[in-house]
Symmetry: C2
Subunit: 286 residues, 2 copies
Amino acid sequence: MPALEKVSSNRVSTGYLTKYKFPSSSLSLPTQFNLFVPSSASSSSPVPVLFYLAGLTCNEDTGAQKGGFLNKAGEEGIAVVFPDTSPRGAGVEGEDDDWQLGTGAGFYLNATSEKWKKHYNMYDLIVKELPEVLKEANLGLDFSKVSIMGHSMGGHGAMSIYLKNPGQYKSASAFAPACNPSKTPWGINAFTNYLHTVTRSSPPSEWLQYDSTHLLQNFEAEAHLLVDVGTEDDFLKKGQLEPKALESVGKEGVEVRLQDGFDHSYYFISTFAPEHVAYHAKFLKA
Amino acid sequence: MPALEKVSSNRVSTGYLTKYKFPSSSLSLPTQFNLFVPSSASSSSPVPVLFYLAGLTCNEDTGAQKGGFLNKAGEEGIAVVFPDTSPRGAGVEGEDDDWQLGTGAGFYLNATSEKWKKHYNMYDLIVKELPEVLKEANLGLDFSKVSIMGHSMGGHGAMSIYLKNPGQYKSASAFAPACNPSKTPWGINAFTNYLHTVTRSSPPSEWLQYDSTHLLQNFEAEAHLLVDVGTEDDFLKKGQLEPKALESVGKEGVEVRLQDGFDHSYYFISTFAPEHVAYHAKFLKA
């Protein structure tokens, strides 16, 4: 297991936010993440863990700096992990040309197309490698109590990861997520490029494995999923988010809320951040 | 009175954050600021106003995005004004060469030296022009109830403005402020450049009029001043802040708190932001 290199550390809320770097085997590149750990955490009294997946163009700092999660997380005694949104410096042709693909746009999947598959494996990083690396580092985190949330592309990531791994996460929540990416522009663009699609059904099964609406239709466990979308979100209006698709599955335990007047920005996130942390605390501390 | 041009608007907390632009007569240039107004505000039921002055290198967005003030301000029903930290595009030779002087470093004073005096008049902007422009715009703000806070250079600004204008502000607070700038490097550099110093006493009286420690020694009104400084703040260690100078004045109503382990960053500010808003609410809503 690779050693975590400490990049920086800031006292915040009831603990510390530390930025770490390590050579990721999922990405075949070094990656950075921020980790908030409340001071109450110790190996004899480990704390629950909440992942926050950021959206397009963002990185490991965005949610930590602008999300407004940390005071509530500190009060609840919950650690928060802020991963990056993609590999950095993979050197794939064109990866820096389009804010919707490549750098800053990993889409939380494992790429299978020749061009992208060596480095663009954010799914494995989030679901498998980061938890292993963090367990190994012995930081007072309880990986039997993990939840996951995210924004926009990261909302898609949080929901699809939650729904693909029943039992691994206690709950999921999302701000303005792409709910049905196999049918909406960001997702179609990402899946077309990242995934080596053999089948020609529409949408292909390789796409549906990362589509939260599809996954929810087939999710047999009890769901704990909270989704907030602002009514003035331009990406909602442009058909990128489609929360109604998710809601129309009619699954118990899935709450989709339209928040009047809010947009796609971190001002929206920071308004409801404490509520989302409290939502997860209910399941993480049950 | 110049018209306010709306640049952007975001729903946040219990209201809206709106970015405005207007031609400032103090700066002889257009300037931008952000204004949070809780939805409860109206001309028949105006709300108190809290100014937040940001530090070196920052602008009108920094405190709004990273400060963590807005949920508490919304809950308390208080408006928050986030001005810029300097004129922009003044064209003064060298103004973009040094992060401690010129652009992003207006020091909340009125410049008197030939080189800077046309544009660098942030004191008049904050103390006189912005309140007048906002009153005129009829946005449901109660300018009989105003308080002021800030960070670092902006903490110096908030405290010195509060202490120079007894009765105009109900209270002041600061995160990691430069408390004794006539004797510390940032202040000496700023005052040497911005102020046309005639007297040769040490420090000159032109400097002392912006030095909070000096102003507090001569402040005869009842003080309501809260100061937080982190013990791991590098600028504290480098002698830029000198909270002990302020504390040693021994003025009742001035609380200087050293916060264990915190540094100079917005992680520090966001941790104590709700407490500062609550502190001001006590006086603004008395």
